[in-house]
Symmetry: C2
DNA sequence: GTGCTTGCAAACCCTTTGCACAGCC
DNA sequence: GGCTGTGCAAAGGGTTTGCAAGCAC
């Protein structure tokens, strides 16, 4: 390790500046992207908002608001959880990010025994059942990546129910 | 209306008793079904539990616990919301009913732009993304029953992740 | 300067828990 | 009789809201 520092100063310098440079470009790109996004959606560009956006983009999986908050707090210690919530909602409403599940927050239970899936209205959130056959969509693989063992498939069809289509037109 | 009461006493009696009889049979069936279910799952048969079960079976759609509570309260005024919650959970754990969504209760957001779906582990609740192609999804329909207009499909694959399979064996 | 954003604290909703009493087995 | 289930009230988690001060445009 130390040999590298002493013996190959030029290589070190190259790597160092290359790394610094590419990082700078990345930050500039993200920043300008974000400014553009905000402009498109009529949002003010604040420091909190920008950091939140970058942190969320950089996180794997589907973190909870608390987890996002914890990460953002490292870069903006004074930020409040309420700000995180407000902005996550703003991002979702603007279409910058997407909510994972359209379902109601509270516990819902299936009383319908038959194999079926759901049609969820993106406007009024109404949920109607749809039989496996009517859906005409049958992914039936038993083997999936990462050795995931399939028990069953649950399909949500997101769209507009008849009522909301009428109201929209 | 009144003519029926006066003019056709036999028919009235027939209908009346037939109706009463079929209702009695229904209640007995439900009751004995429920007793059997409870026996299978080691649950005590209480009045509250039985009414809750019958009410839930008789409800359309995917009512919230509050809505179920309101209905049950009409038949068992003294019942408490806590009892409703406890028993809904018991029913779900026993496999008598099924939870609609395996997702965490809190808000989750998609940061992954690409078309993808989710593999949800029924044991540890971990959520992993899976691409549309890896899922092997059949062609999509744009028209569904009740004039529902499709925007997109969201598929959850429920099963066991590799880790939980190891722990299970 | 005007209006949107922030941070704080309190309120809010939904759900769970602890406990004494009642009811099933 | 022992053990589970109930009802009540209080606590808990996650989320939203109201408001004064701060910042972007």
């Amino acid at each position: 390790m130390r040999a590298a520092f002493c013996g190959q100063p030029n290589l070190l310098d190259n790597n160092f500046y290359r790394s610094l440079w590419s990082r700078l470009i990345f930050v500039q790109q993200t920043s300008s992207n974000f400014r553009k996004l905000c402009a498109e959606h009529g949002l003010a560009v604040t420091h909190q908002r920008q950091v939140l956006y970058e942190v969320m983009q950089g996180m794997e999986g589907h973190p909870s608001p608390e987890e996002v908050f914890a990460r953002v707090k490292k870069k903006v210690p004074a930020i409040s959880l309420a700000t995180v919530y407000k902005n996550i909602h703003l991002f979702v409403e603007s279409g910058i990010f997407r909510k994972m599940s359209m379902h109601h927050g509270s516990v819902r239970v299936e009383m319908n025994d038959e194999e079926h899936h759901h049609m969820v209205c993106s406007r009024c959130k109404a949920i109607a059942d749809i039989g496996e056959k009517e859906l005409g969509l049958a992914p039936r693989r038993r083997k999936l990546p990462d050795g995931f063992l399939v028990e069953r498939y649950a399909v949500d069809v997101i769209g507009l129910c008849a009522k909301c289509q009428q109201q929209a037109s």
